[in-house]
Symmetry: C2
Subunit: 199 residues, 2 copies
């Protein structure tokens, strides 16, 4: 089956978004916690991406700032946010944060905001892997108005036994789901560890 760029452009808006969002494959299901002039905010993102290890940087894509975007506005205002990885126990709640709520998404989705150390942004208590981020830069993407946000990894919180002997996360012990596109969730189970490849 062949789907061309023209076929994609001719789909109605919802179908086009659904299908094209799937083409980048599985993504982490993350909840971005912020606190600013709109209050406590929690938003579902599936665009968190590794950017670099030295210095420790992590990126994510915000949709265009053509409407009010609490997460983006809070990040630019307060320069801090948290990344919280969802798991199957809170999957429906995590998904529910994506609705247009009038109240805080923490309350709407019955998730617990907690504060740690001196970090001003709230973490999600129900998540096993929590990351505190500090603003580094953002790049406006002129092609479609999205914004590539870059943060430094300030603190990582996780259970004691979730790192293996190679110093790698045993991710399915922390978060066992991923998303493909906007609506479909997949369970992730460890399959294999392959060593650094040599010819």
């Amino acid at each position: 089956m062949t789907i061309t760029n023209t076929d994609l452009q001719n789909l109605d808006k919802r179908h086009r978004a659904s299908l094209i969002n799937c083409l980048s494959g599985p993504k982490a299901v993350t909840l971005i916690g912020t606190k600013g002039s709109h209050g406590e905010n929690l938003a579902l993102f599936n665009s968190v991406i590794h950017l670099g290890a030295n210095p420790p940087l992590i990126g994510m894509i915000s949709r265009p700032h053509s409407v009010t975007r609490h997460t983006l506005e809070h990040i630019l205002e307060t320069r801090t946010w948290t990344i919280n990885h969802a798991n199957d126990q809170i999957l429906r709640q995590a998904h529910h944060t994506s609705a247009k709520h009038k109240e805080s998404e923490f309350a709407a989705a019955r998730l617990t905001a907690i504060y740690k150390g001196k970090h001003p942004a709230p973490f999600v208590e129900e998540c096993q892997l929590q990351i505190a981020c500090k603003y580094v830069n953002h790049y406006p993407i002129k092609e479609n108005g999205t914004i590539f946000i870059i943060g430094s990894i300030e603190v990582v919180y996780l259970p004691e036994d979730s790192i293996n002997e190679h110093g790698e996360l045993q991710y399915d012990q922390l978060a066992n789901v991923s998303s493909v596109g906007l609506n479909n969730y997949y369970k992730v189970e460890h399959l294999d560890r392959l060593a650094y490849a040599k010819p």
Copy 2:
């Protein structure tokens, strides 16, 4: 357990890269096919990201151009590439493309280059989901020298029955793996479909 930015910076290079690469969670295992002045090239990327549906755009991060990078150089030279999603049948071969091969990675990993339509870059025949991309722009990330590459989605090839009644990919029928960090692979299995969220 708490890991601070300073703890991360104090890790040796390999451990730091391993751990920090895990923090963004599951990613698609994709093989990027190009053909240019270095010949046919195939490279393992785990940084493909959805960028926008209208127009259909897809992004990925290239590591810094401080050494020869065939994929990046071919993309800038020929303005075309392919994205091929790996599956468990070819997982070890896909991983093996990441070694420093003197020959083409297609030959080294025993994967089959095929050409489709008028697209100058090779696809991986063993992959069920193949995407032809055309260069749109690239953004140098000054914080660490990485490059954010943006392509338009020109053609998508996939099996006839892999789209559900909502127009979404049944991803595990196309590619049933994801990666976390540099060395660990996870099987993905469909868990749930959650409709567009409303308050």
